[in-house]
């Protein structure tokens, strides 16, 4: 990772993703309030809309990046032994990746099945 990415880059990323997560959350809340899907078929249709799909995908990636920068910050602050920090970071990366794949899989499935 370049130096830029670990300092200013991470800081900008965290703020940019925070804005997107906030906007997406508000939009989602709006949809749920105005015309909430009432059954499974409607849910699927809604998610199958390419616009919703892309927005959700960006949302998933934003959550991943945001969580990575945030939790990495906490680990840098509090975990001193390098081996422990690296192990925890690896665990975090694995966990986030797993969640990311699982979350995007449902997006793909909804278009295939």
């Amino acid at each position: 990772m370049s130096r830029k990415l670990s300092g200013l880059g991470a800081w900008v990323l965290q703020r940019a993703t925070a804005i997107y997560i906030g906007l997406f959350g508000v939009a989602l809340l709006g949809v749920m309030l105005v015309s909430p899907p009432t059954d499974y078929a409607q849910w699927r249709n809604w998610f199958a809309d390419p616009l919703v799909g892309i927005a959700t995908l960006v949302f998933i990636v934003s959550i991943l990046l945001h969580a990575w920068v945030g939790i990495r910050d906490v680990l840098i602050d509090y975990i001193k032994p390098l081996w422990l920090r690296v192990s925890l970071l690896a665990l975090l990366a694995l966990g986030l990746l797993t969640w990311g794949l699982w979350a995007s899989q449902s997006l793909i499935l909804v278009r295939l099945v």
């Binding site: 830029k4 670990s6 300092g7 991470a10 800081w11 910050d73 840098i76 602050d77």
Partner: protein
């Protein structure tokens, strides 16, 4: 008035303990005066102080849980018993005297001097009044250390994170129209530690006896970095 002060003698103690003193308070008495009175009662009691009017920045300490300068803290404003401890997070040398060398190292690391690429003019380097105004709220720092030793990020990484004081100084030179090392200064601040350990906790702003705002200075640095980066 009751004062509980932290005592630590490196030769005999394994950790600090509190000792209570009774001091007769006079009108207009400052905490520094009370500590001097305590010193008269027990001359082994050690604390740093010098100018006595909030200019030298020597008598920073933790009073009832807040970092402040003893010489400009009126005892009448304090809750009894007044608990006086050394700055948190710093190695204690004796009683209220702490080792501030990491704090000064961080100050030194931001190269707190003007850097000129152009040849030096015959006389002074001129600056417009508007440019000079940009240094207000920055140059007044007396390096007392109240801010950095109140900063959790500095507690956890005093060797790698510059801390609010040094970052305020970094911005003081970045903001100076006469300085020509902006690129270099910003490059030096890159990476996850030196600048970006700041999580805008703002303890620094709360405790600064000079009313300065290191958090705002740090924000200015980040935005300048951003502007230079894109």
């Amino acid at each position: 008035m009751k004062f509980a002060v932290s005592r630590f003698n490196p030769d005999t103690d394994s950790k600090p303990h509190m000792q209570t003193f009774e001091v007769a308070v006079e009108r207009g008495m400052m905490l520094r005066d009370a500590l001097l009175e305590i010193q008269r009662q027990d001359e082994s009691f050690a604390f740093r102080h010098s100018c006595g009017e909030g200019v030298c920045g020597s008598d920073g300490m933790n009073v009832n849980g807040t970092n402040r300068l003893a010489c400009i803290t009126a005892v009448s404003d304090l809750k009894e018993p007044v608990e006086v401890r050394p700055f948190p997070g710093r190695p204690i040398i004796r009683d209220l005297v702490v080792d501030m060398s990491q704090f000064y190292q961080q100050y030194k690391a931001v190269e707190p001097w003007l850097v000129r690429e152009d040849p030096m003019p015959e006389q002074e380097i001129l600056q417009s009044p508007a440019d000079r105004d940009k240094l207000d709220g920055l140059y007044e720092c007396i390096l007392c250390g109240c801010c950095s030793t109140a900063c959790p990020s500095f507690w956890w990484n005093p060797d790698k994170f510059h801390g609010p004081q040094a970052l305020l100084t970094a911005w003081r030179f970045l903001a100076d129209s006469r300085d020509q090392a902006t690129e270099h200064r910003l490059n030096e601040l890159e990476g996850p530690y030196k600048l970006f350990r700041c999580h805008t906790i703002m303890n620094c702003v709360e405790v600064c006896p000079k009313g300065l705002n290191p958090t705002q200075a740090i924000g200015h640095i980040k935005h300048l970095m951003l502007r230079q980066g894109v």
